[in-house]
Amino acid sequence: MRDEPAIAVQEVCRTFGDIVALDQVTLTIPRGIVFGFLGPNGAGKTTMIRLLLGLLEPTGGTARVLGFDVPQDGRQVRERTGALLEHAGLYERLSARQNLDFFARIWRLGGAERNRRIAELLDRMSLLDRAHETVGNWSRGMKQKLAVARALLHRPELVFLDEPTAGLDPVAAAELRNDLAELSRGDGVTVFLTTHNLAEAEKLCDLVGVIANGRLKALGTPEQLRSQEKGKELTIRGRGFDGELLAQLQRRPDVVEVKTAIDGIKLRLESDAPVAPIVREIILGGADVEEVVRGKGSLEDFFIELMEEEA
């Protein structure tokens, strides 16, 4: 079973009445990587996590997690996985320590190991000095950190994290990203995360899947997906980009799109378009060009392009 991928789903479908939440999704995620599942709200990301945890049954297809058939051996799957679902799901009347203690007992951590692990995780999340506070009074970011700690408590082989950095301040989000990267690269844990933060996915994920309307639209490394983006971006900073010049650029066959920005313009070019003639035309058109930056394309650009096509 150790040779099987962390997750292998084959033509998985899930419907709720007339609504198709997952439509023939096929996906294989190797062990020990960070997988990012991207998609707009309602795309099917949370349904997929619930299904992989055995909280929902598929209406079609097969789903295997860590070598176990999910509908058949859901308990075996949950024994080996940790999860932070859509909501932090903390007991708000209890303290942080009581919350972790309850879950540590569920995962059968012994007395000394339980106390050590709880202290270690609270410390890692910078919550140790607030361990005895009732979590109901905490900020969303603090609750989120505690929920992440809860998901990692029993050192699972696979962690599902639904928007783990939502509500975290930039420093805490960066720290969590480092922790997740370390968890995957250092401890060999597989991380399945959903996020709306595409820059985060680009930095953190080894493999990315994009889902829309329940269908898997793209799957690959961030590099592979970026290279699928149609055209390339050119940012030109300066002054004097008047309407006539913009219209002239828009008429060029190698220019796909012209957008104005605060400090200049952004052009989307055909992928094989040479840049020099375009810059020359801009200068001859009377604009003062201060800087020309050729964009490498980003996961965000690819994602937006994909969603526009979908729409």
Partner: protein
């Protein structure tokens, strides 16, 4: 067993936290009214009359239903149930743990009121020697109290799983309990006169062991049906749909 106790323990800690906060005054008022005031004003009859047993075995039902609504509909509303379902705990352990905690909660209050009532009556109205419940009344407290609390808890699960909020679950459960009382009174009203007289005489004599056992038998049947329905409904793959 340890998984079951883990769930029970967490539920008890939550109840204690709830009572320790703003519930402290509420708690003292309940003890004052049901454990001291009523026994004091009714006197020794509070111990000898079967009416005490009948009214007190209903009381935990209300307590149990409110706690069950919070443990199931409340957890779903607060999104903690989904997290709990994503753990290694089997469905039946989560269900049994939460049911047990609710029953223990109801029984804790039942026996708290019964014991404080006994102490109050014996202290205020003592006329040499302690008076205690008859064998049938004591059996009634133990059997009907426990089985009634279990029924209320199982009914609480069924209603809570069909309700989207705690408030809705509590309202439905309160109506259900009132409905049960109305049905019970209605059934008694439709009994033949001879039967009613015989029951009345037995109750008046305090010789009601057979009635207690009959009531317990009925409750066992109701408990079995309600627990079966609750078990069928409490399946993680159905709870989040």
């Amino acid at each position: 067993m340890s998984d079951w106790w883990t769930v029970v323990r967490k539920e008890i800690i939550e109840m204690v936290v709830l009572w320790r906060g703003r519930g402290k005054i509420h708690f003292l008022m309940l003890i004052g009214v049901f454990g001291i005031y009523f026994p004091w004003s009714i006197g020794p009859k509070w111990i000898t009359s079967p009416a005490t047993m009948l009214s007190f075995t209903w009381f935990p039902l209300m307590m149990v239903t409110s706690i069950t609504a919070d443990a199931f509909a409340g957890e779903r509303e607060r999104h903690t149930l989904e997290t709990l379902l994503a753990t290694r705990l089997p469905d039946h352990v989560i269900l049994a743990g939460k049911l047990s905690a609710a029953v223990l909660y109801g029984l804790f209050f039942l026996w708290l009121f019964v014991l404080s009532g006994l102490v109050t009556v014996n202290t205020v109205h003592a006329k040499g020697g302690w008076i205690f419940f008859s064998r049938s009344l004591f059996t009634g407290f133990v059997l009907l109290g426990t089985l009634g609390a279990l029924f209320a808890a199982a009914l609480g699960v069924i209603v809570s799983l069909k309700s989207s909020t705690v408030r809705q679950a509590q309202q439905t459960l309160n109506l259900a309990i009132i409905g049960l009382i109305v049905v019970a009174v209605g059934v008694i009203a439709f009994l033949p006169d001879a039967w009613r007289q015989a029951i009345g005489q037995r109750i008046a004599r305090g010789d009601s062991m057979q009635l207690v056992l009959a009531g317990a038998g009925l409750l066992v049947a109701l408990d079995a049906a309600a627990l079966y329905a609750a078990r069928r409904m409490f399946r993680r793959t159905r709870l989040l749909v």
